[in-house]
């Protein structure tokens, strides 16, 4: 029965998703603080006039913005899916496990101590930061008794995240760059750097490909260490490769738009609920659902305080927090604690 379920539902999701992605792009390009007609928007793409302000808004701001939202949504959701599968931890996700914070922390240090880094270097540093954050949290998790259990690891992750961001803001305040730094910490999807976007795409694609490549092994790993070893899986390699994918995906996301919470937590759960536990389907479906989700969150963020923008993190938190509470309530019993 379950095999039938996992066959057609994911294909249907992947088949109808282009429609929603297109819808998100259209809404995102057409609506915003400034009213721009559909015709002007079309002209901006077909016959771009660099003197026309509206054209510049469309090409320089709205299109990069929706592209960034779609990409980051996909990256974070896939990163969350892999983390949840590999660690068998229903609370794992880039924001809860300190991976996002690690990135933002290293970026802060870079801004303060080596100003004027190129975008390439920024992305690389951001990935190093992801690895650092994940390393710290999992390191502490393995030192502490029972520390790798979902709830404990989530507590450790949050606390280490707070610690890193406290130090970062102290350093930033001292060097009087706190405004620049707070931009990295609070998602800046409304001001995506087009150059950065161009550079980020290949890095993200590498991450996504790695994720797809390991997806089958993630399914096996999600059955548990013993079973995975029994089935002849080289668990060390799978873990290393999939963590590399997470580092690529999260590092790129943070370098591109800053920290966005809850996407990586919520989306994989919803997707698993719909398509089952086969990660060959979960990962691609998470990617499309995540990108659609974040693109629509971005659209919402323009309108809840119109004509002012609201940080997208507020929108994802409003959706994510109740979901998080629900997860703790239904799954967080003594057994998994």
């Amino acid at each position: 029965m379950s095999t039938k379920k996992t066959n057609w539902i994911p294909i249907m999701i992947l088949a109808i998703s282009p429609f929603f992605i297109l819808l998100a792009i259209v809404i995102s390009v057409l609506y915003g603080t400034k009213d721009i007609s559909a015709l002007t928007a079309w002209q901006a793409i077909t016959e771009f006039d660099s003197n026309n302000v509206d054209h510049n808004i469309i090409v320089g701001s709205r299109i990069p913005r929706v592209v960034a939202a779609l990409l980051v949504g996909a990256f974070l959701a896939v990163a969350g899916a892999i983390m949840q599968g590999i660690t068998r931890n229903y609370l794992a996700s880039p924001s809860i496990m300190g991976v996002n914070d690690g990135s933002a922390f290293v970026i802060t240090l870079a801004i303060v101590f080596f100003p004027g880094l190129s975008n390439y270097q920024m992305i690389i540093l951001s990935m190093i930061g992801s690895a650092l954050g994940a390393g710290l949290v999992f390191g502490f998790g393995s030192v502490i008794r029972n520390g790798l259990s979902p709830v404990r690891l989530a507590i450790i992750g949050t606390v280490i995240g707070t610690f890193l961001s406290s130090i970062a803001s102290a350093i930033a305040l001292f060097n009087q760059v706190s405004q620049t730094v707070s931009i990295w910490y609070n998602a800046k999807i409304h001001a995506v750097d087009v150059d950065m976007l161009r550079i980020a795409i290949p890095f993200g694609i590498i991450g996504l490909l790695l994720a797809l490549f390991t997806s089958k092994s993630v399914t096996v790993a999600s059955l548990g260490e013993d079973i995975a070893v029994g089935l002849g899986q080289r668990t060390k390699w799978v873990k290393a490769l999939s963590m590399l994918a997470v580092v690529f995906l999260t590092g790129t996301s943070v370098a591109l738009v800053g920290k966005i919470a809850f996407v990586g937590l919520v989306i994989p759960h919803i997707v698993r609920f719909i398509v089952g536990v086969d990660y060959r389907y979960v990962i691609p479906c998470s990617a499309v659902v995540g990108s659609i989700f974040l693109a629509f969150c971005d659209i919402i963020s323009r309108f809840i305080n119109y004509p002012f923008e609201t940080p997208i993190g507020i929108v994802t938190a409003v959706i994510g927090v109740p979901f998080f509470l629900y997860l703790i309530r239904t799954k967080g019993g003594e057994k998994s604690a």
Binding site: V143, S149, A154, S166, S169, A170, L173, G333
Partner: protein, 341 residues
């Protein structure tokens, strides 16, 4: 008898340490003063208007607020840890700070009060702030207790995690509300939310003093109940104590304390976590002894943190909340490592 001696000795040492911190705080700063200047100013011996200004308008209110907030958070943390029987409970981690903070931000928005320049006109609204905070804090506490309860008992880990998520929820809410303010107020609110007491003045002291005094006394008088709560629930009921009612009273009292603190200093976490632990390791397990020691330790920690926050990056100031988390988080992790799974 021995225990009482130890208790008195501990209190005395804390008093000395606090006095030391007080000395550091009042003599150092962007304007250094000798202790003689301070004493002369305080005793009104040939007063110097410059010294008067620095001491009475800037440093003294700031230290007094740090003391009151430290006492409040120390006591509130002890109550939270006692009632939930969870050594990792802390008003900041549990999101009660954030709840109180969100409703105070809402209050600031609704009444368009310039928190920076308290004039006589807004005197009443300053006094109202803790009351508003209480509503939000109580809401957060209720949510936490509802969500972390399963099959009639509270799960330790889940309590913390629920707190963390409620924290980020209310944090997002405060952020959203504060974005609707005008830019100056927003800046103010942003600094205040991280936890800072650098814009202290006497009206703030007055607005929180009654809360701290009255609620501390009530909690102290009930502190022996916290000893019973460490036993099995059935045993406590058989002693003729209406457990639920007393727990709710204690929690509401500590929410009141927290709201008063948050309304003045913003959200300062981890004091409520550290102080009770340190107190327990000093004077043992009886809450009647822990309570005053925890208040004293909280007071000392906050004065010294505030001193660090104002001097370490001189002339720029660090919000004290950041200093406290940088000190507090390693301690939290240490407790996690030490605690039995």
């Amino acid at each position: 008898m021995l225990r009482t001696n130890r208790f008195l000795l501990t209190l005395f040492v804390i008093f000395l340490l606090t006095f030391g911190a007080f000395y550091l705080h009042i003599t150092n700063g962007s304007f250094d003063m000798s202790i003689w200047d301070v004493i002369k100013t305080l005793l009104r011996i040939d007063p110097n208007p410059k010294h008067d200004l620095v001491i009475f308008e800037f440093r003294l209110p700031r230290i007094v607020i740090a003391m009151l907030v430290g006492i409040g958070l120390g006591i509130a943390g002890t109550v939270m840890q006692g009632v939930t029987r969870n050594g990792l409970a802390d008003p900041g981690i549990l999101g009660i700070n954030a709840g109180a903070g969100a409703s105070i931000v809402l209050f600031l928005l609704l009444f368009q009060m310039k928190a920076k320049h308290i004039t006589d006109g807004s005197w009443t609204s300053t006094m109202m702030m803790p009351l508003f905070g209480f509503v939000g804090g109580a809401l957060a506490a209720a949510l936490i207790l509802i969500f972390s309860r399963k099959n009639g008992r509270m799960d330790m880990q889940r309590l913390i995690l629920t707190g963390i998520s409620i924290n980020s929820g209310f944090g997002a809410l405060s952020m959203y509300i504060s974005l609707k303010m005008n830019p100056q107020d927003f800046e103010m609110a942003a600094v205040w939310m991280v936890g800072s007491i650098y814009n202290a003045n006497w009206i703030f002291v007055l607005s929180m003093l009654p809360w701290i005094v009255i609620l501390s006394v009530i909690i102290y008088r009930k502190s022996h109940l916290l000893d019973y709560f460490q036993l099995e629930e059935g045993t406590v009921t058989s002693l003729g104590i209406s457990v639920e009612k007393e727990k709710i009273i204690l929690i509401l009292c500590s929410v009141g304390l927290i709201s008063a603190c948050v309304s003045v200093s913003g959200s300062i976490g981890f004091i409520g976590l550290m102080a009770p632990h340190i107190a327990r390791s000093l004077v043992g397990l009886r809450h009647r002894l822990i309570m005053p020691v925890s208040a004293g330790v909280g007071m000392f920690l906050l004065i010294i943190s505030d001193y660090i926050s104002k001097t370490v990056f001189e002339p720029s100031e660090l919000p004290v909340g950041i200093v406290v988390s940088i000190i507090g988080i390693p301690y939290f992790l240490y407790l996690l490592v030490k605690s039995k799974a």
